[in-house]
């Protein structure tokens, strides 16, 4: 007994310098990943002056929630939020409608013309018309300054299609389709009644991949939408956070009494803290949802890494 305990002790004591250094480095790295987000949280609840002078390190100073109130009172931000949700929902639906059937058919290697069609898709991964040619095409299609552009652009990611195809190839045995054929099912029937019901995991993965892409992207909106009413949240954020437009809306600025300079300064200070609040509010849906959907993302990466 004694020796067993001693051996056990020896084993645990082997947790020596190596582990110490390793864990210390990992914790440092985790801290570096975590701290900017944490700082954003505490800064968004703090008074401006202690934030600007570097007194806020671990805890909010001069606790306030007016930054959040001001963010929520800005109609542009609400509008952007709503637009982003609409673009994400409809855009993702459009993506899935294009991706899933295509991937299913492309998993049928025996299909006549498979190679030609494969190349038809693959070529687009390497050749592009470029920004200006695309812009002109969209102009011809009447998509400029048309919110529909946010739904239809980037409709089919060939990479995602290949990942989905790999799933169909590897996860659904041919014998199931053969059984369906013997039962007299048509090819449509095989797709809708056998393949689709079995593709829940890949549907989830693809929906998430596409949805995150829609939620986070700003470039297409910047290229094609000049009307502010159509701007997604990411563009509103860019204006406020990157281009330093005031986070306070015109109305809010108009409401304040122009004579009191002190009030102006207070507002300007508030605008700085509001940026932190805005970062959090815009990222909250992703950060809250991500621990629950993380495994789907990881699964998607795994499928993608297997050569199809």
């Amino acid at each position: 007994m004694d020796t067993a305990i001693q051996r056990q002790k020896k084993k645990t004591r082997k947790v020596g310098l190596f582990d110490f250094v390793n864990i210390a480095l990992l914790l440092l790295l985790t801290f570096i990943c975590f701290y900017p987000l944490f700082f954003t949280v505490i800064a968004s609840f703090s008074d401006y002056v202690p934030v600007a002078t570097g007194q806020v390190n671990l805890w909010p100073i001069g606790f306030q929630t007016t930054a959040y109130q001001a963010v929520f009172e800005n109609p542009e931000i609400w509008r952007g939020y709503l637009n982003t949700i609409l673009y994400t929902v409809f855009g993702t639906a459009f993506n899935l409608l294009l991706t899933i059937p295509t991937a299913y058919v492309m998993s049928k290697k025996k299909m006549f013309g498979h190679k030609v069609i494969s190349w038809y898709f693959l070529i687009t991964m390497y050749f592009h018309g470029g920004m200006a040619a695309t812009y002109l095409l969209y102009k011809d299609l009447n998509l400029i300054n048309n919110p529909l552009v946010m739904v239809v652009t980037g409709g089919l990611s060939i990479y995602n299609m290949i990942v989905t195809r790999t799933y169909f190839t590897n996860s659904i045995p041919d014998s199931l389709y053969e059984a369906g054929r013997i039962d007299g099912s048509s090819e449509f029937g095989l797709f809708f009644r056998i393949a689709l019901p079995l593709s829940g995991p890949i549907l989830a993965v693809m929906a998430l991949y596409y949805a995150v892409g829609h939620w986070n992207s700003y470039w297409n909106a910047m290229m094609y939408l000049s009307n502010r009413a159509y701007h997604p949240l990411s563009l509103v954020l860019r204006r406020i956070l990157i281009l330093n437009e005031s986070a306070l809306s015109e109305d809010q600025l108009g409401m304040l009494d122009p004579e009191t300079i002190a009030d102006m300064a207070r507002r300007a200070n508030l605008a700085v803290v509001m940026k932190y609040a805005l970062v959090l509010i815009s990222s909250a849906p992703m950060l809250i949802a991500y621990p629950f959907v993380q495994k789907y993302f990881v699964k998607g990466m795994m499928i993608g890494s297997v050569k199809g």
Partner: protein
């Protein structure tokens, strides 16, 4: 039955039989084929304006050809900042390649952690930044590095230094771009390596321990060779995207003061093409960029294939 048909019979009757046999598959493909024809091949058709004097009224096909056909290309190559842009693009992408091993290192370190709870927590936190948008990451970068009130400058002042306007220094641009990218993705990029490490057999490690290997030696002679195939695959995939810099992120971090280091080909295309409406010129630059990209991809593929026997094509 279908698959057991002899393959040699390729007469017209056979082709027609196979086409009618799987017509429903083609129907399922129609939406994607039409979509790609319009949205991917459409702009490729428009590439001809690179050689034309594009007039909106006449359209791409009707616009007159340029006199020296390569006028726009010649103009681009003679543009004073041409080499600067090439250099910026290359230095940012090569810099990104230099930090390629860091997620591998992270995975190896995490693999040594015995405490599962700690391991999961570290993974959870380091994955999180991956889900932030570019706009948010870039504004975090700007806020953290802000000269007047950013935490980093506050720290510098607290330790007796002078405030540094990081984002305005051209020399710091590629570092800011690359390291903020690492901050966002180190956890996420390590996922494949972590799972590859998990599938290394425990017996192999035990055998090495019995042979008297210490932990560093196990990492070097068991773990790293074990994940080498995964490393090779991710490396090739990275090579494929070598010259496609993240222009949308670069654009966010750009300002007038760091432009000499942050102007890359794609952001220049946006400025001359979309913002100032020189469509023909911008298309020519895109085409140039695209062709160079493909040449580099082919070259990279050739080299990797020679060295590791695996390639994209």
């Amino acid at each position: 039955m279908n698959s057991t048909l002899p393959k040699r019979r390729m007469g017209w009757a056979h082709v027609r039989k196979r086409l009618t046999e799987s017509w429903q598959w083609y129907v399922l493909l129609i939406p994607a084929i039409v979509y790609v024809a319009i949205f991917n091949y459409g702009p490729m058709y428009g590439v001809q304006i690179a050689f034309k004097n594009y007039k909106p009224k006449l359209g791409a096909a009707g616009s007159p050809w340029l006199d020296p056909l390569f006028k726009n290309f010649i103009r681009f190559v003679n543009y004073p900042d041409f080499w600067k842009m090439i250099r910026n693009t290359l230095s940012i992408t090569l810099y990104s390649l230099v930090i390629f091993p860091l997620p591998i290192l992270f995975a190896l370190m995490l693999n040594e952690v015995r405490n599962l709870k700690l391991k999961k927590t570290v993974q959870m936190i380091t994955y999180a930044p991956h889900f932030l948008s570019e706009v948010v990451v870039c504004s975090l970068v700007l806020m953290m590095l802000a000269r007047a009130n950013g935490p980093i400058n506050n720290m510098i002042v607290a330790s007796g230094g002078d405030r540094i306007p990081f984002i305005e220094i051209p020399g710091a641009f590629s570092s800011i771009y690359v390291w903020s990218g690492l901050w966002q993705n180190i956890g996420w990029d390590s996922i494949l390596y972590i799972s590859a490490l998990a599938s290394i057999s425990q017996e192999q490690i035990e055998a090495a321990t019995i042979d008297g290997a210490n932990r560093m030696q196990i990492i070097r002679h068991v773990n790293i060779p074990g994940i080498l195939p995964t490393i090779a695959i991710t490396f090739i995939m990275r090579m494929g995207g070598l010259l496609s810099v993240g222009y949308s992120k670069i654009f966010l971090l750009q300002n007038d003061l760091n432009l000499s280091a942050s102007q890359v080909i794609s952001t220049y295309v946006y400025r001359v093409g979309i913002q100032s409406g020189q469509y023909s010129y911008a298309t020519a630059i895109s085409l140039f960029n695209n062709v160079v990209n493909i040449l580099i991809l082919l070259m990279a593929n050739f080299v990797v294939k020679k060295v590791t026997d695996t390639g994209l094509f």
